[in-house]
């Protein structure tokens, strides 16, 4: 084994291994950073519609046309 092979074996391979490990550890962060970029505009998130309530008869339920039943306003 000459000097060049020894350097490659004892420094090159560990260095290459370190680079691979670093890339594997950091790759998810690089991908996520693209998703985290804030788009700015308004955001609307919704759950699914209301689940049926077995304790209430359909006749007790208000029609969909009557929508707003209350709520509050606040500022901080």
């Amino acid at each position: 084994m000459n000097a060049l092979q020894a350097i490659g074996l004892f420094f090159g391979l560990p260095l290459l291994f370190g680079v691979i490990v670093y890339a594997l550890v950091s790759a998810p962060g690089w991908i996520r950073s693209d998703d985290d970029a804030d788009e700015g505009g308004p955001l609307l998130l919704t759950s699914g519609p209301a689940l049926p309530d077995p304790s209430r008869l359909p006749s007790e339920m208000s029609p969909a046309s009557a929508v707003s039943g209350g709520g509050v306003s606040a500022q901080w």
């Binding site: 700015g40 759950s47 304790s55 969909a64 039943g69 209350g70 709520g71 606040a74 500022q75």
Partner: protein, 138 residues
């Protein structure tokens, strides 16, 4: 509504990251499971004040059984709109409590955390009363 409202950035609130959006989406789903009502969250400009929030609520699917939490970080404004069916269990006093909790978190700069806590609080209050034989069939 203008599109310049940067989800909290301009008001000093922490902006909502993609991770927090996913988390808030799961909180909304959990709120629906807890209460049985649909929940929606709007973060953006509310130039028309409460009227904007009410209009946004009316656009939801089954609005009578839905709760909308609308926040404008730039205007430092919070609106909670409840549908007529939800208002049976979730009165304005309970909404005020949730609004106070959320406002204090927003004032501390924690937009996502305040929303998370407020939505869960609303869901807990909106939970319909237990009905003998229906909720406990055994």
């Amino acid at each position: 509504m203008h599109s310049g409202d940067m989800l909290g950035i301009e008001s000093g609130l922490s902006p909502i990251s993609q991770e927090e959006r996913v988390d808030l989406q799961s909180v909304l789903a959990r709120a629906r499971t807890i209460s049985g009502y649909g929940f929606a969250l709007y973060v953006g400009p509310l130039d028309g004040g409460r009227a904007d929030a009410v209009a946004q609520h009316a656009d939801l699917r089954s609005p009578a059984g839905a709760v909308l939490v609308a926040v404008s970080p730039t205007q430092r404004r919070l609106e909670i709109v409840t549908g007529v069916n939800v208002a049976v269990n979730l009165d304005d006093r309970a909404c005020e409590l949730a609004a106070m909790s959320m406002s204090s978190s927003f004032a501390a700069g924690d937009l996502a955390g305040g929303l998370r806590e407020g939505i869960v609080m609303l869901a807990e209050h909106a939970r319909h009363p237990r009905v003998l034989h229906l909720d406990d069939p055994a």
